[in-house]
Symmetry: C2
Amino acid sequence: MTTGGAPTVETIAERAGVSIASVSRVLNGHGGRPDTVTRVERAAAELGYVPNAVARSLKGGRSMQLTFAMQDIGNPVYVSMVREIQAITKAHGYRLLLHSTDAVVEDELAVLRSLADRTSDGLVICPLRITPEHLEALRTAAQPVVVIGSLPEDAPVDSVRADSVTGAEKAVRHLVETGRRRIAFVNGPADTVPGHNRQRGYRRALADCGLGLDPSLVATTDFTIEAGVRAVHELLEADPSVDAVFCANDQLALGAAQALHTRGRRIPEDVAVVGMDDTSLARASWPLLTSVDLGSAERGRIAAEMLLARITERDSSSRAPVRSETVTPRLVVRASSGPVRRGAEEETR
Amino acid sequence: MTTGGAPTVETIAERAGVSIASVSRVLNGHGGRPDTVTRVERAAAELGYVPNAVARSLKGGRSMQLTFAMQDIGNPVYVSMVREIQAITKAHGYRLLLHSTDAVVEDELAVLRSLADRTSDGLVICPLRITPEHLEALRTAAQPVVVIGSLPEDAPVDSVRADSVTGAEKAVRHLVETGRRRIAFVNGPADTVPGHNRQRGYRRALADCGLGLDPSLVATTDFTIEAGVRAVHELLEADPSVDAVFCANDQLALGAAQALHTRGRRIPEDVAVVGMDDTSLARASWPLLTSVDLGSAERGRIAAEMLLARITERDSSSRAPVRSETVTPRLVVRASSGPVRRGAEEETR
DNA sequence: TTGAAAGCGCTAACAC
DNA sequence: GTGTTAGCGCTTTCAA
């Protein structure tokens, strides 16, 4: 039936005077007599035919769509992941679906469950916390899932994690080595995986360096600029001897810098500031922010590749063991730390 | 057939001892005898049934997906749009597909054309430039499209635009009113729509205020932090009398602030800085950045609503005329401008 | 090489 | 209220 709607294989078939099977074959490059090929291709071009991807998905069982779920696209750390994942999925012919979960467990679980609706061929997810429900949902996921973040050893899911314990250690060591002794720590919620690990790294580094842990130098708040501002005001109010502030992410660090500026403390002469994630904010701050690159872009890339590998594997009956990669953190020293300022930007391993 | 695969209406029907039609009805809330309803619901729950959204899309002709295409998710102005669009589409039961076009015309056109593949029920797109090919593609788009940006009067597409001419005017006037006279302008590419309009606003405001246009105070570069740094160094090198820098977006403004800090110029005492877009960067900068809010979140919201309206309308045969809304810019005065510093943050209309 | 036909999973007429 | 059935647009056997 040649309705007024969009052209279908049938429309093309009529116009080219062949069967719909031939149309499909030609359009998918499965051969045909030169004559047939020409006629079909011309008919398709003339009608501006575009295959219905939904019908194709239903038939083929793959949607050619992948999903990325993160807490909030407003956090630049996710932006760099999205950018990377987007590039890779696009290169492989997949579209990218985006989900903001606001770290609401229910939303995260809903995303996991919705994998069963066949809309998406796989998922990359960044859960801030891991509950038993998460593990159960991961176990029973209807499509391949890759987690960006830390998972229990026996979780049956591929994952890429940042080594934020080591990352935090590097930051604190760097501060100690450059002469700081009263190193405050501004952390996000301690019941999140990142918050927990960054705290461990801070403690470990202090211990290794022979510095005691002073609980009054530790603030636990949210992962935002505003929280960073408040926390540093309070820390300095309580203890003016602070000579460095280590922040659990760049947003907190930007807030810290603002509070210090407001109080007339010079960075880094009076107080050094170090952030984490090495997001675009580090290069937006004044002075340029020293930050620990936890490999967000790389984690995004690896996650996307792991996911694509699982999807490919699905066709080939073999099943690789669960993979778990850890990205090595890298301290990027910039002007906000260090005893001397030697230039605009300097990077070390 | 009860295969080992995912449960389908047929699986449920068998288990509940009813027909697939009853299953469909119950699951879609189209009534049924209480007894039937119970049995179907229980069977569905026991099997963990999730409807195949692809099959549903094929049948219903709607994918319940919307697409957002922008230049680069790394620009915070798009982040706030995405966030808003995401929230609205989600509330209406739609998923959001993301596309980064890198402002490549070919990519933008490809997104437009791919609307014909039925994957998406509509598109919000932010083209930086509008070519004749764009207009043609918009005219022939297979699904509703809303453009965020300026379009010719007769373009047959809904659009939301920022009034960046007025926005730029407000910024420049504010600088003049607070006593600035040598107002430099750091712009993005002049052949983009935003670049063009912001330049018009700058010129108009100078003229209105009786200040002459000094071409040596205008720099044209890219919309990035690094470009802002370079441009301001060059401007000040050439003319140290500059007492204000108006930047065509916040990223340029952050760059400007860095260059000024590096050169030991105090902000705002020596040089005032004003940005545009009022992104999260404005609150990440030191001092807090005065910026013109061009309503990115609001444009996102309006665009999403316009799109949903068009989609709804498709069912109801009526066709509303093409809409074109303009969002009123709002100057948000913060510490980086103004003769006096009266607090951390102060907003005016 | 080609065409006829089955069927992916679902919804909605239509008949009972 | 319920079951039977057609069909959304496509790919892919299976025969010819």
